[in-house]
Amino acid sequence: MSNLIDDDPRIIEFDVRTDEMLVNMGPQHPSTHGVLRLVLRTDGEIVSETEPHIGYLHRCAEKIGENVSPRQWIPYTDRLDYLAAMNMNLGWALTVEKLMRHGVGEKARHLRVLIAELNRIASHLVGMGAYGLDLGTFSPFLYAFREREKILDLFEEACGARLTYSYITVGGATADLPSGWLQKCEAFLDQFEPIIKEYHALLTTNAIFVKRTAGVGVLSREMAIDYGCSGPVLRGSGVDQDMRRDGESLYTGMYDGYAFEVAVQKDGRYPRDHTYPSVPKEVVLGDCWHRFFVRMLEVVQSMDLVRQSIDRYAACREPLGEPLKLAEKLPVGDAYLETEAPKGQMGFYIVGNGTSIPWRVRARSSSFSNLSVTHELCRGCLIADVPAIVGSLDIVMGEIDR
């Protein structure tokens, strides 16, 4: 009898069909990072359509960029990706220096690598802690913030601020590192090394965490490239691409002489997986777990980079270069440079017209394109998976809404 029903094309058979509902998740939802509003079309528990609504955090940063000189725009770059402000400053500073063809001394170069990688560690720690929150466990969040506080203390000593630093400016940095800072940074790295294993025990190899993330929100290589994803989201899908190695010569020049491998799974193996727990078997390349694991690898990678930059920075004797003058005239022309921010490729574009005020300023946000993937990933998943997927993309609304 049952095959009669199956053969009859007119009858579609599936579970009890409740009525479709339009459900609002956000903008004040506790799990979306910042003010993101997701409109979900759900049928019972199954999500059939996701539409992110953004713009709640828009502050016209780029329009203001057309009224202030490049150095005065540095504080606005802090507030784009407020979790990795140093990397944003670095991106803007490099773009302006590219426009003005103004080189930077060795000491400033190594200082910039040191500070940028330290800020990447802090940003990934927040990403890891908040992701634990999305999946329901509260403790990793506090462990992550405990370590991040120590990094913020170091930054506070260096530039006086804990979140929006405006430390790296066009032509170097506002001030040199205080004496004894390098030893403190070294001490932090030494005590941070063993703690990474705690995070793996808490989350990466936790059976329930693996169950909630393995095979959820699988982003294929082609879709990742098509949607312009970048950073850990791209590398989580197995695409071997890192701006610090594949970027423009001006940016990769900062990193020459540094030994580092891109944290991506090549032919089934991660570069440094000997010190890391093995990849669980039910994990699929490109799912939430891999994006999380890539971020954890990058934290260790950044620690190596910081150690190397400390040695090189200490070796340079000459004083730090003077930053650009406020009223410096900008040459006519434009410049666009992409850097590897913790969330992905952060591009800055400037058009000079001979005066000291740029004619046009534009920031290309990595989280913006990463967020565009949510509809593809959340289709057909359960409501409980939506925060898991959005959390694994690690988006920051400041950067998206600018």
């Binding site: 929150l133 329901g136 506090l142 409980a384």
Partner: protein
């Protein structure tokens, strides 16, 4: 109690009603006091797990007045009701779920004779009433007129109803071992050394205990199974719209049933009021007599049971702050694909163990397992041999020795 009041010259019925009310108030205070302590304990344990201090300012160094502060805050908070809410159901829901968890405390034996009401169907009654808590949740979810709370309510209802199946199976094993559903008799049978506890009776019961713990955590909606108030997805599940006193009733119901479920585990598997070492028997005191020594022994028994139940609750808190949350379908698969089959196999195993190895492997298990099944059948092996006409206690005789299987109570080694 009632005789004491009759002695004071109160009319009979007034004495009895006062005695009943005093017993009810005492039980209510078990939940209220428990909730007070557990709120404070949860904050402290969560703090310790997260490498911080927890409340330290309210009431002295350890912040033990924190629960009182919470209580006052909840009392002072305004009881909001959403505009589209269904008035009657919205107000009724917290009381329904609180009554359900309070109701089950009646049959729980705290010490030898310290029990609200000695029910012959004690275990069955407790499990039945625990199932009623789901009504409060469904009503709350439906009445607060918001999609999110409805999601939370439907999820929780599905979870609690489906976890009752394995919970029921796990509860039946100790009932089978003791031969009766009367909680007091089950606890009495586990008196003596720790080896007499049903936990160590046979390997199957040991596994059943851990399945019971899982299902209990799930049916009380705690830790990895707390779908209903999954902050990350459903804001706060079914009690999103509640605030103030109504919300605290849901809170009390949760802590009440947490304590109840772990106390039930203590009675069924961990020997109820019998401590690991039978101090009272070694010293020669007995619970049966009415003198002050018996009072002290019962107090010791009370401490034992509350200690075990508190250990269970602390275990739930510890699990809550370390593990992430499971998804609704994973919760269902763990129930249907793991808990229920394993419980069924272990139940069958315990049954055959009871049949073929009544004496058990442990030498300490002296009692002949073919106990009198509540005094109904006195066949040779105790098991109702179908061939030999079973000598039956006629209904009349039973009337004289009413409900408790006193045959057992008096003979147990005291």
């Amino acid at each position: 109690m009632a005789d004491f009041l009759i002695g004071l010259g109160l009319p009979g019925w007034l004495a009895w009603s006062i005695a009943a009310l005093v017993a009810a108030i005492l039980l209510l205070n078990v939940i209220a006091g428990g909730a007070l302590v557990f709120i404070w304990a949860e904050r402290k344990i969560a703090a310790r797990i997260q490498d911080r201090l927890g409340p330290t300012r309210t009431g002295g160094r350890f912040g033990w007045l924190q629960s009182l502060a919470d209580g006052i805050k909840l009392l002072a908070k305004e009881d909001l009701m959403p505009e589209g809410a269904d008035g009657l159901l919205f107000r009724l829901a917290p009381y329904v779920s609180f009554c359900a968890s309070f109701c089950a405390f009646i049959a729980l034996p705290f010490a030898f004779d310290v029990v609200g009401q000695r029910l012959n169907v004690g275990v069955f009654f407790v499990v039945a009433v625990l199932g009623l808590e789901v009504f409060g949740v469904i009503l709350a979810g439906y009445a607060s007129a918001s999609k999110w709370s409805l999601f939370g309510a439907m999820r929780e209802a599905a979870q609690v109803v489906s976890y009752e199946v394995p919970l029921g199976m796990c509860v039946v094993v100790p009932v089978m071992l003791a031969g009766t559903m009367d909680l007091v008799t089950i606890a009495e049978k586990q008196s003596g050394w720790m080896s007499n506890w049903y936990l160590f009776h046979d390997p199957f019961t040991f596994v059943i205990f851990w399945i019971y713990v899982t299902c209990a955590v799930a049916s009380v909606n705690r830790a990895p199974f707390d779908l209903a108030e999954a902050e990350s997805e459903l804001v706060a599940g079914f009690h999103t719209e509640y605030s103030g006193l109504r919300w605290s009733f849901f809170f009390m119901a949760e802590y009440g049933s947490m304590f109840l479920v772990s106390a039930l585990a203590a009675v069924l598997f961990l020997g109820g009021w019998n401590g690991p070492v039978p101090v009272a028997q070694l010293v020669g005191l007995s619970e049966g007599t009415g003198d002050s020594a018996a009072y002290f022994v019962r107090l010791l028994g009370l401490a034992n049971l509350i200690g075990k139940a508190t250990f269970g609750v602390l275990l739930m808190m510890w699990v809550r702050w370390t593990l992430p949350r499971l998804r609704i379908d994973q919760v269902m698969t763990t129930c249907l694909k793991y808990c229920t089959p394993i419980a069924a196999v272990m139940f069958a195993g315990a049954m055959f163990w009871q049949l073929f190895l009544p004496g058990g492997l442990l030498p300490g298990w002296s009692r002949p397992a073919g106990e009198i099944r509540e005094g109904w059948l006195e066949g040779p092996g105790g098991l109702p041999a179908t061939s030999a006409p079973a000598v039956v206690r006629s209904a009349g005789v039973a009337a004289a020795e009413p409900s408790d299987s006193s045959g057992l109570a008096k003979r147990s080694p005291r």
